[in-house]
Amino acid sequence: MAMTTPPITGARDILSPDGWLAALARRSEAVVIPFCALLAGLAAFSLFLLMQGKSPADFYSIVYMGGFGSSFSWQNTLSRTAPLLLAALCVALPARLGLVVIGGEGAIVLGGVACGAVAGLLIGVPGVLGIPLMAAAGALAGAVWIGAVGALRHYRGVNETIASLLLAYIAIALMNHLVEGPLRDPASLNKPSTAPLAEQLRVGDLPGWNVHWGLIAGIVACIAAWVLIERTTWGFAARIAGGNVRAAQVQGLPVGRLIIGFTALGGAFAGLAGVFEVAAVHGSANASLAGGYGYTGILIAFLARHNPLAIIPVAILLAGFEASSGLIQRRMDLPDATVLVLQGFVFVAILCSETLYGRFRLFAPERWRTA
């Protein structure tokens, strides 16, 4: 009997691997799994709180109140978000090549110092010219620092995780040396700093907000990084090289340039975070630059599974957690480390969920029919 194509029915159509539902199902895996993992992490943390005799309901309502409950809370949250976005990119971009770079903090402090140093040469220069120059200097410092990690990896085979960590320690020592030595403003008596930035070189707040322009820069950077990764041949090549370096080399991809390029770009973003800390927050470069944003950035990049667009909501979420930290201390009599514990729980849960990808038939339309 001759087989004929069965008439297409509505039900068949909707379950077809080529249909819109299938496309939705495939795409939703990358959202549903991390989201559920986030909930699992929060649930596990709730248990932890119960064991301490504290109410999770109180805790989360305070987090909401302190991080997202009012326009003031949102400003608190968003003012922390800017450096986190840029610091997370310093992890996410190299991660496309399979590199784990954890020394973004070093690029942030050197970016800030470079900004402070260059600002000293730009006293009479108008802001439209001066601010881009400072930004370029900071980005360059960060790019050189993290790019060096990539270069060491490619040319010498030095492990990038360890090298970036060592370079972060060295960068902080260098920053302290410069800020208290050659670059110190003699007038900065009890808090050694570079000379204060001239007024026109300061980066201001968004109109009507107490949040500086770094937030917009961070969001633009995330979008640009996403375009680079998802929509350009460079991004495509990086993904191949990240999957298998040897295969990429066999195909003639410029693996060395990719590695150095992606690490340097990540470092440039982190350096930019330092620039905004100096130009928009501190007004000069000093030891406060080592504020730990680089380390929170690692967490954010992993939670966002190194997707630059996902970094934006994840960074806002974590900034909200941190913004509510003080209120948690004061209202619930919990130590300041509570937010660190919460971050740990969520981080572990998200990483555990990596094992779930491809396990659910729901997200794999090819396997629907065999149900």
């Binding site: 010498r156 030095v158 995780t161 960590l165 320690y169 060295i170 990483l351 094992t355």
Partner: protein, 307 residues
């Protein structure tokens, strides 16, 4: 008692510093060697170290016995290692990332539970004086050697011997070098790696207890200045050899003592740069000894960071 040693003060201070400061590095790097030889990397030992410091101090304070504190730190460290090992046994989970997560969690929990123990004074671990032959107080102080340091040396030799000559050592090495070969021999790589990570965690916990119970000998949130992370670098430096770990830890400790020692003889310009000496040194050695074309000598074949 006046004894001005001039520039001789520097080597003596570095010797003393090496003995005092190296022990946490030694323990954490031995733990990491054990873990990495089985084919996994645990970057979370910094968190384990800090939690070990806190739990060791807390238990020593509550029981009045410093060794009970060391035991508690080892147990806590083993639990963290076990957690790392179990999570990494799940398919497709990245061990480096899990390490970073557990570092965060370990530090968070240590700070969370450590608040009530910042103030109290816990008993110290005992030390043995090896400087009786010298009249110089500096030499006698430098050779005031903590028992844990000696245990660390014994452990380094024992691990070296274990990897070289025992069945357990062989099993760990096979698992670390090739998952397939291990399976063919009827071994369960995830199980062995998990156990190796747990044992490694116990070492790191003891390293933390040394920090809080002997040197500097108190618990606070700044007790570790990255010793746990640096130890991971030292393992590469030491080529996964426990004996070399000892020398690497000594070298690192001595380099760390350089800054204060130089200031005490009057070299005080640029002390931040002297303080960075251990990091520069480690990076220099890594650059000098790595190679882009071949895996590093001694590197376990299954290790993600060297593949």
């Amino acid at each position: 008692m006046e004894s001005d040693l001039g520039l001789w003060a520097i080597p003596i201070a570095m010797l003393g510093g090496a003995i005092r400061v190296s022990t946490p590095f030694l323990f954490v790097s031995l733990g990491e060697v054990l873990t990495e030889r089985s084919g996994r990397i645990n970057l979370g030992l910094e968190g384990t170290l800090v939690f070990g410091a806190m739990s060791g101090y807390a238990v020593a304070f509550l029981t009045g016995n410093a060794w009970a504190g060391v035991g508690a730190a080892a147990i806590c460290g083993a639990l963290f290692g076990l957690l790392h090992g179990l999570i990494c046994s799940l398919p497709r989970v990245n061990d480096i990332a899990v390490g970073i997560a557990l570092m965060l969690l370990g530090m968070g929990l240590a700070f969370f539970f450590g608040k009530p123990f910042i103030q109290p004074v816990a008993p110290d671990l005992p030390s043995i004086s090896f400087g009786w032959w010298s009249d110089l107080p500096q030499v006698r102080a430098a050779l005031q050697v903590n028992v844990l340091f000696l245990i660390g040396i014994v452990a380094a030799v024992a691990l070296w011997w274990m990897f070289r000559a025992t069945k357990v050592g062989l099993v760990i090495r096979v698992v670390g070098d090739s998952t397939d070969a291990a399976r063919a021999m009827g071994l369960s790589p995830p199980l062995i790696r998990t156990l190796a990570t747990a044992a490694g965690g116990a070492f790191a916990g003891v390293g933390g207890a040394y920090l809080s119970l002997f040197y500097p000998g108190s618990w606070n949130e700044g007790i570790s200045s990255g010793q746990g992370l640096m130890a991971v670098a030292l393992v590469i430096f030491a080529r996964w050899n426990p004996i070399y770990c000892f020398w690497a830890a000594i070298l690192f400790g001595a380099a760390g003592a350089l800054g204060p020692a130089l200031q005490s003889v009057g070299v005080s310009t640029g002390y931040y740069l002297f303080y960075a000496a251990p990091y520069v040194l480690t990076l220099g050695v890594l650059i000098a000894t790595s190679s882009p074309t071949r895996a590093m000598t001694g590197a376990p074949g299954e290790l993600s960071i060297t593949k």
